[in-house]
Symmetry: C2
Subunit: 661 residues, 2 copies
C-alpha cells in the first residue's frame, strides 16, 4: 500500500505556465483555425493600441494577413508607438505572464501579460516558425530586430537571430508571425473585429491588407487621443479579508490610518479615522500587526462609513455619440426606425475596481424581425467576438423580461427576438474575463446587476417610443374613420331627405370631444423638419402648455414661428398655446439643424388641460416641476409599465426618474 | 520621446502565476459566492476521487459544509485514498501548476494541477485563514497534519504549523478550508453536484453533511472500481508541425522510424516505414536533425497512410445502463414516456487525444413542456454545473435542427423547447476546457461534430418513437370511428326497414381492407406484459412475418405462446404468422423480465405482405437482410426524415444504419 503513495509521489512535479498553455491553447482563444487567426490579430492589435496610448500618441496601425500555404498565414502588425527598449523586446514577445500593465489598476485593453506571447507560441507550435519582431525607439538611429521563439519548457524567450537595421520610421514596433489558421468573412472575421475597433476608437487609423482583394483603410474620425486614464489605488468596496491582511502585512507605515489613506482611493485621513473608530481599532494600530478580527471589523466598518463613489477619470467610456455612430455603422445600408438614447451609468465598484456600463439600442426599419436580436459586446473599447453565451453581458440580456419593452421573448427569459441591435460596453480598471482569451465577461454579481439596470433604462426609452408610435397610429386610424364615415353618412342622408349637405365640423367635434396632437418629423437636406399639428375637436376654445424635449440650440430660429414661453436645461422647451377656437387647427413648425438622422427623437407632453381631453400625447410627467408657470390642470403620475412595480429598478427610484429625463 | 520607451520599460515585470490567479479568481470558478462554494467542493472531491482511482481503491468520501459566520463556511473533504507522502503535501495543496496528472495522457478528472491549491488560495484571500491538511499513508503509524497558505507572490506553500497525529484510519487524506461563500439549494447546488457524481460514478460512496438538516448518504451501487484507464502516447492524428519538430528535437533515438514508433500510439514499425516512404524521408533520418520541410511532409503522410483508430482502454465511458439510470434519477418522482436508447460513439481523436461522446435523451411524461429542454453535461465523469452557454455541448445542441426530431425550436437553431432532458458525456484523455474552472468544453471542431452526430443518432430514435406513437394513435382513432359508426348505421337501417341487424365484420372488412397491428406493453410487478394484436380486416386469409427488436433472453419462455421462426443477434426476433382468416384476430403475448421500466422499448415490423395492406407498423427496413427466410413481399426503403438528405450524417452512411439498428 505504501508503495502506491510513494509511487504516485514520483509523478508529482511543477508545470511551467507555458507548458500549461501549450497544452491548453483553447483557453487562450486558439480552439479553431478561424478563431486562431482572429485571436492572433486581436492580441497584437490590442497590444499596439495600448502601447501608443500609454505614450499619449495617436495610433496608426498596419495589419497585414498573407496566405503562405494552404493552412498557414503570415500576420504582420506594425504600429507608430514608442517602441520597446532592446532588453525588453524578447521578454514582451517571448514570455507568458510578463508585462507592464498587470500590476496597475487602470483601464487598458491588455492586462494579463499573456496575449501577444501566446500568439508567438501558437505560431511556433503550429508552423514550426519563429516570430520576427522589430522595434525602434526615437533616441536611437536604428531599429532592433530579432527572430524568437518561446521555450515552452522554461517559459523564456529563445532568440534565434538578432540585428540592428535601418527602419524609415521614427519609432514603432512591428511583429510578423506565421500561424496555422483559416481566413473567413462574416460576422466573426478580422474585418469585423477591426471595424469594431475603429468604431469605438475614433482616434485610431488602421490600414488592413487582407490576403485577397484591396486594402481597407479605417480613417480616424478625430485627432484627439482620449484623455489618458489614471491608474488608481483600489476602492475599499469589495476588498477581501485576506487581501486586506496581506496588504497590511506589507504596509510601509506604522499607523493603520495612514495605511488606509495611502493604499485605498477615496479614504481621506478623516474617513480612515471614522473607519477605525467604527471598527474599534486604535488609530495608532500598526498595520503589520493587524489581527484577523481587527481586519474583519475594518471591513464591516467600511460598509457603514460613508465613502465616496470611485473617481471617474480612471475610466474612458465610449459615450452617447459614439454609441449611436457605432450602431449606425453596424446597420450599414439598413435604416432603423429608432435609436434609443444611449445610457451611460454612474461608476460602480467590484472588488475595488471602478467600472461603468453603457448601453445603446437601435430598433426597427430594415433590421430583420425573425431572428434573435443582434448583440454587440465591448470591454475597455475592445470588441468581443467569441463566447457570447459565456458572457455576463449576454446573461444580463437574457435575464431582462423584454416582453415588457416590446420585444418577443418566450417565457420572458433568454435572448429576445425582434428587429433590434443591443450594444453593451463595460469599461473598468480590471475587466474580469472568464478566461485568458478575454472574450467573455465573468458573471460577477455587481457587474451583471449594473448591466441589467442599464439595459432596462435604455429599454424603457424604446418602450416609450413604441407606445408613442402605437398610440399615434391608433389615433390616426380612429380619426380617419370618423372623418371618412361621417361625411358619407351625411351625404347619403342629405340625398335621401333632399336637403343640402350640412357642415360637419361641429358634429365631428361632438363625437370626438378631444384635442388631437400629432407630430411628425421628416429628414431632408440634413435638416429635421418638425411639425406639430393641434386639432381642436372640442366645443370650446382651448389654452394649454405644450412641452417638448428637444435640443433648443439646434432649432433654426428663422424657422420657428411661435417663440417658447421657457427653455430649461437647454432641451426642455415649453410653448404657451392660446385660444385655439373650436374646430380650429394650429401648427407649430421648425427645423432642426446639426443633428444626424439617428440623433433626433423628441418627447412631447401637454399640461394645463384635462388628461381625458387630449389624445396623441401624454400629459406632463410629475418630475417636470412647472409650479412657477402657474398652470393648473391635472398632472398625471409617471407611466409605470406593466408588472414593473416589483422590479429591481424601482428600489432606485431616483435613478429611474433620472434615466427617463 | 526616448524617455517614454525607457519609462514604460521600468514597469515591465514578471507576473507569478499565483498573483495572476489571485487577481483573476473568476477564471478559476470563484466569480460569485454561491459558485465559489460549489467550486471548492468540486475541486476537492474530484481530487479525492482521482487519488483513490489512481490507487485502484473504492472511493469513500465525507463531504462536510459548516457555516462559521454570516458569509464564511468551513468545507471538509476526507477520503480513503492512498494518502500523500509528507514532502509532497504542501506542494499539492499550496502551489498552483503542480501535480501528477498534467504530463500524462489519461482520462482523469483533474489534469491541470491548479484546482485544489486554488481553493486554498481563495480561502485565504477571502477569510484570511489557512487550510488544514491531514494525510496518512499505510506504511506509517501516524498521519501528517499541517496548516498552510499559498504565498501568492512566490507561488509556494507557506507551512504555518505541522505535526504528526494519531488518525484512526489506515490511509487517506483530508482537507479543511474556510471560504467565503453562500450555500443554496436548487439546480446549481452542492447536493446536485454530488448527486451527479454519484450517478455517473456508481462505485463511489459519499456522505454529505450539509450546514443544516440531516446528512445524506449516496451509497455505492457497485463494488467494482471501473477498469483502470491506461495512459497513452499521443495518437498521430492532429499533432501540430511545431509539436512534432519539438518532440523530434528531444528524441532519444537516432532513427526517425523508431522515434515515430515509440512516441506515438498506433504507429507500428511497419506504419512508421510507410509514413517515411510516403513523406520521402529516409528511414535512417536522425529525428534531431529533422527539417521543417521534412516534418511537414511527415504530417501530410500521416493523413494518407492508414492508421488505426485510437485504443479504447484509455477511456472510461459511462455506458448505456448508467445513462438511463442517471436520467431516471434526475427525473425523481416524475415518469417519462420514453427513454431513447443511449448512443455511445466510437472513439475519435483531436490533437492526438482520443475521446468518446455519449448521449441519452428522455422524453415526455411529467417533464415540463413549456421550458427549454434540460441539458445535463458531463466530462470525464464529472458533472458540469456552470457556463452552460460557453460549452461546445450546448452549442452542438443549438446547432441541431430539433424540429426534425419532434421538438419545438424557433428558426431551427438554439436550445429546443419541449418535454425532454438531454444528457451528454465527453470522455477524453484530455478534456479541452474553455478555462481553468473546467465547467465548459471548448469549441474544438472535431469534438463539436462528434457531439452533433451523437445527438442526431439519439434524436432519430426519439423521432421513430414519436412517429410510431402518432401513427398508432391515428390508426386507433380511425378504427374506433369505423367500428362505432357502422353498427349504429346498421342498427338504424335495420330498424327502419324492419329487418334484423346484419353481421358487420364483412362490411367493415370491405371498408378497411387492411391488416391492423397494434402493440401494447404494460409494466406490472417488474414485468413488461407485451401484447401484439393482429386484426385481419381484409377479405382473404393472411400470411406474413412479424419482426420485433426485443432482447430475446429476457422473454419469459413460459409466457411465450408462438415460438419464433428465428432469433438473430440476440434481439432480432422473427415470427411466422400463418393463416389468419378474414375478419379473424390473432394475439401474440409474452412477458419480459429483468428490464427496468425505462429500459424497455420495442421496434415492430412486418415483411411478406404488401405495404399498402398493413397499418400500425412499418414494413421491414432494407438492412434486415432476410433473404434466407425466402419471404417475398415489398421491402420499403428506410424512412428518411424530411430534409435530412443534405445532413452531415449521411456522409457516414454506414454509421447511420448502425445507429438505427
Amino acid at each position: 500500500m505504501a508503495s502506491i503513495a510513494h509511487e504516485l509521489a514520483k509523478n508529482q512535479k511543477e508545470i511551467s505556465v507555458s507548458e500549461f498553455f501549450e497544452k491548453n491553447k483553447q483557453i487562450l482563444g486558439f480552439d479553431s483555425l478561424t478563431r486562431a487567426l482572429i485571436t492572433s490579430v486581436k492580441e497584437t492589435v490590442d497590444n499596439s493600441l495600448d502601447a501608443c496610448e500609454d505614450a499619449g500618441m495617436l495610433p496608426e496601425l498596419l495589419v497585414k494577413v498573407e496566405k503562405s500555404n494552404n493552412t498557414e498565414y503570415i500576420i504582420t502588425v506594425e504600429d507608430n508607438g514608442p517602441g520597446i527598449v532592446k532588453k525588453e523586446v524578447a521578454n514582451v514577445f517571448g514570455r507568458l505572464l510578463y508585462g507592464s500593465r498587470f500590476h496597475t489598476r487602470a483601464q487598458r485593453r491588455g492586462q494579463q501579460g499573456i496575449g501577444v506571447s501566446a500568439v508567438v507560441m501558437y505560431g511556433q507550435i503550429t508552423t514550426g516558425r519563429a516570430a520576427k519582431v522589430r522595434s525602434k525607439i526615437s533616441d536611437e538611429d536604428t531599429a532592433y530586430e530579432c527572430e524568437l521563439i518561446l521555450d515552452t519548457k522554461k517559459n523564456r524567450p529563445d532568440i534565434i537571430r538578432e540585428d540592428r537595421i535601418i527602419w524609415d520610421r521614427e519609432h514603432g514596433t512591428s511583429i510578423e508571425v506565421s500561424i496555422k489558421g483559416k481566413y473567413i468573412g462574416g460576422k466573426q472575421s478580422i474585418f469585423e473585429y477591426l471595424k469594431g475597433v475603429a468604431i469605438v476608437n475614433p482616434h485610431v487609423k488602421i490600414t488592413f491588407i487582407p490576403p485577397e482583394g484591396t486594402p481597407i483603410v479605417f480613417e480616424r474620425a478625430t485627432d484627439q487621443v482620449p484623455p489618458p486614464t489614471r491608474a488608481i489605488k483600489p476602492h475599499p468596496e469589495g476588498v477581501e479579508l485576506g487581501e486586506l491582511l496581506s496588504m497590511a502585512k506589507y504596509a510601509d507605515t506604522n499607523r493603520i490610518t495612514s495605511f488606509l489613506n495611502s493604499e485605498f482611493s477615496r479614504i481621506s485621513n478623516r474617513v480612515a479615522k471614522d473607519i477605525c473608530d467604527a471598527a474599534g481599532v486604535p488609530l495608532t494600530q500598526n498595520p503589520k500587526r493587524l489581527t484577523l478580527e481587527q481586519a474583519g471589523a475594518i471591513l464591516d466598518a467600511i460598509q457603514k462609513v460613508k465613502i465616496m463613489s470611485p473617481e471617474t477619470d480612471c475610466l474612458s467610456p465610449i459615450g452617447e455619440t459614439l454609441i449611436r455612430k457605432g450602431l449606425k455603422n453596424v446597420l450599414g445600408e439598413l435604416k432603423a426606425d429608432f435609436y434609443a438614447p444611449p445610457v451611460t451609468r454612474e461608476p460602480k465598484v467590484f472588488a475595488g475596481n471602478p467600472f461603468i456600463v453603457e448601453v445603446g439600442i437601435v430598433y426597427g426599419g430594415g433590421i430583420t424581425k425573425d431572428d434573435p436580436v443582434q448583440i454587440l459586446r465591448f470591454a475597455n473599447r475592445v470588441p468581443l467576438m467569441y463566447q457570447q453565451g459565456a458572457c455576463a453581458i449576454t446573461q444580463a440580456i437574457e435575464n431582462v423580461d423584454w416582453r415588457r419593452y416590446g420585444l418577443e421573448q418566450r417565457g420572458g427569459h433568454g435572448i429576445p427576438f425582434g428587429p433590434a441591435i443591443i450594444l453593451v460596453h463595460l469599461a473598468s480598471t480590471k475587466v474580469p474575463f472568464t478566461s485568458e482569451s478575454k472574450e467573455a465577461v465573468a458573471n460577477i454579481p455587481e457587474i451583471k446587476e449594473e448591466i441589467e439596470l442599464a439595459l432596462k433604462a435604455c429599454a424603457r426609452k424604446l418602450k416609450t417610443h413604441l407606445n408613442k408610435t402605437e398610440r399615434k397610429s391608433k389615433t390616426r386610424v380612429k380619426f380617419e374613420i370618423v372623418q371618412g364615415i361621417i361625411p358619407m353618412i351625411a351625404a347619403k342622408s342629405a340625398k335621401i331627405v333632399g336637403k343640402p349637405m350640412p357642415k360637419l365640423a361641429g358634429t365631428i367635434t361632438k363625437i370626438m370631444n378631444v384635442v388631437w396632437i400629432d407630430d411628425e418629423a421628416a429628414y431632408e437636406k440634413k435638416k429635421h423638419k418638425v411639425q406639430v399639428k393641434i386639432y381642436n375637436y372640442t366645443p370650446k376654445s382651448q389654452n394649454f402648455h405644450l412641452h417638448m424635449v428637444v435640443p433648443f440650440d439646434k432649432i433654426d430660429p428663422k424657422t420657428l414661428g411661435l417663440q417658447p414661453l421657457e427653455v430649461r436645461e437647454g432641451n426642455k422647451v415649453t410653448w404657451d398655446i392660446r385660444r385655439i377656437a373650436s374646430t380650429d387647427t394650429f401648427e407649430l413648425k421648425f427645423d432642426i439643424v446639426g443633428l444626424s438622422q439617428e440623433e433626433y427623437d423628441n418627447e412631447l407632453y401637454v399640461s394645463g388641460i384635462d388628461a381625458a381631453s387630449v389624445i396623441g400625447v401624454d400629459v406632463l410627467p410629475g418630475d417636470w416641476d412647472l409650479e412657477h408657470l402657474k398652470i393648473t390642470g391635472e398632472i398625471a403620475p409617471e407611466e409605470v409599465e406593466d408588472g414593473e412595480e416589483g422590479d429591481i429598478d424601482y428600489d432606485e427610484g431616483a435613478e429611474v426618474i433620472k434615466d427617463e429625463e
